[in-house]
């Protein structure tokens, strides 16, 4: 299979098109995903053009978007719906967490909800408190839901195909600052398995566990650390639920030091779960305190001066690693 260079948004679109060709039950709907092409342009990469009858605009009705997907999925379809900004997912939290996630269980396995909710998370656009959050931790506490969060075009396409084919509801979290990121993506069909982390860089001195845009910040930090002779391992979780615990523990067995990096606010973030696993099952592997590098416990501010301070960057990661290595 030949590789093509494409950006993350195109890679998402590519997955949508392939799955819609393969499976007539896959429908896409959301706000302005039709002719307008989606507010981040994803469905504009030929998805609406190829499937004008299966890419549908909805009113501003987030609970209906997610809630009807549950019913459609339970009735045999495979909806892949879009919630523009992850900040609006709390509007549809009942539909996602109480309905989609619990359908299979609460009906004793009679029904299933094969549906995907795609949404854009993250700060960096000066979009302030209501258009910038990273709320993945809220989803990761809900059994029955899978949470997928790719950092590269390759992973985005492969994971979205897996997500659409999955018989469980999947929250598919795209970082808005990654949409224009280019990468090599195989043409045609391939999958990246849900639940498998990816070692984006090998190292021996410290493990940086991360996901989404922070993978790139960690890779930059690893480059920087390399200059000091520090070999950082960068583990991209790629999916948060199910989490690839073994990958974390295997890496700790090598490095004995853990730095967890996420853009989301520190307190109550998914980093806590990672830390708990490491300090529980991995306790004997650890030679040093677990460090979390994360967003501060504040809403995302508008002013670029403050937003820059909010965002985790490579220097902060480097400083944390240096602090840890003493």
């Amino acid at each position: 299979m030949a590789n093509i260079t494409m950006n993350y948004a195109e890679a998402v679109a590519d997955a949508l098109k392939l799955e819609m060709r393969r499976d007539p039950d896959v429908y896409v709907y959301g706000e302005d995903v039709g002719k307008f092409g989606g507010s981040f342009g994803v469905t504009g990469y030929g998805v609406f053009e190829e499937f004008p009858d299966r890419v549908l605009d909805t009113p501003i009705s987030e609970t209906a978007i997610v809630g009807t997907a549950v019913g459609a999925a339970a009735a045999g379809m495979r909806p892949c719906v879009e919630i523009l900004f992850m900040d609006f997912l709390p509007i549809a939290m009942d539909e996602l967490c109480n309905q989609a996630a619990k359908f299979h269980y609460m009906f004793g396995g009679q029904m299933k909800c094969p549906m995907v909710v795609r949404t854009a998370l993250g700060a960096g656009m000066g979009a302030a408190a209501h258009h910038s959050q990273s709320l993945e931790a809220m989803l990761c506490h809900i059994p029955g839901l899978k949470t997928v969060i790719p950092a590269t075009p390759y992973d985005a396409k492969g994971l979205l195909i897996s997500s659409i084919r999955d018989d469980n509801p999947v929250a598919f979290l795209e970082h808005k600052m990654l949409y224009s990121l280019k990468g090599e993506v195989p043409e045609g069909d391939y999958t990246v398995p849900i639940g498998k982390a990816d070692l984006k860089r090998e190292g021996t001195d410290v493990t940086l566990v991360c996901y989404s845009s922070m993978v790139h910040r960690c890779l930059e930090a690893a480059d920087g650390l390399e200059k000091d002779g520090v070999h950082a391992e960068v583990l991209d979780l790629r999916t948060l639920i199910p989490m690839d615990k073994d990958a974390i523990l295997n890496s700790l067995a090598k490095t004995h030091r853990l730095v967890i990096v996420h853009e989301a606010c520190l307190t109550g973030g998914f980093g806590g779960e990672i830390a708990a696993i490491a300090a529980g099952e991995g306790f004997d592997l650890l030679d040093a305190p677990i460090v979390r590098v994360a967003g501060p416990d504040t809403p995302v501010p508008f002013s670029p001066a403050l937003e820059a301070e909010f965002l985790v960057n490579a220097p902060r990661i480097i400083a944390a690693v240096r602090g840890l290595l003493g």
Partner: protein, 323 residues
Amino acid sequence: MAVENAALKPTLLDLYRTMTRIRTFEETAHKEFLKGKMPGFLHLYSGQEAIAAGVMSVLQPDDYISSHHRGHGHLIAKGADTGRMFAELFGRVDGFCRGKGGSMHIADSSLNILGANGVVGACVHIGTGAAFACKHKHRGRVSVIFLGDAATNRGTFHEALNLAAIWDLPAVYVVENNLYGVANCQRDYMKVEVAGRAAGYGFPGVTVDGNDVAAVREAAGQAVARARAGQGPTLLDCRTWRHWGHFIGDAAAYRDPEEHKAWLKRDPLILAADLLRSEKWATQADLDRIQAEAEEEMLAALDFGKNSPLPGKEELYTHVYTG
């Protein structure tokens, strides 16, 4: 009760049988609950039987329904096995949900019942989503959504009905308007009649005597026909009354005893029985036999349900994810 249709004769007897089975199921469950044998909460359907029976009588087996916390009647009317229902109410492994759901999540997906639901108003989206599937995948099928009057105040109602309208989905919203949502009367929580709400979405809203099974059947038949013909959704505002409190344990002291008495006289079973007898479509002996059969069925069903084993502990961990 105006009956235009002579063809109603055999149907009405069937409807009476369905209603009797529902009533008997609920009475049986009520007694067991009061004995302290059933866990959780029970919201009895008694008094509302004409709605489930009337609506379901115009559906095809593969049409979808979505239901709510007061959902036993819907299952029975759509044909679910009452033994497995009791098993579910007792939290036993032969229950439709293997005991994991209970009364508030009872469902038989083999009959395209998308479940009772513990979240008031959730069924409105679920059923609308099923209507989406009917439009795009299961052409010709319809999706019927049962909801309470109080559920029409939830935002989900608004968003779903609007979406169904603009997409002309084959959906029928059946509001079981028993005038109360727990302890508050409809007039305390809305200033309009339920049927009037359909106007905000641009499709018909029809007020129906929800205790008259023939009237329900008639209105539901028209709504379903509209939906099947691709003409979009209908809202039915079926006026009815629950015979008991909100759930077992609620004495319903907030209702006017006189009003309660008046409604009991309009018990849907009494109305149907009166008609059957006055039209001479059935004798009292026929009706008694139906009652006796229902009692026999429910005794056996109760027995089955009660004696079904509890799920093993490992069941706690299964069905979180598929596969």
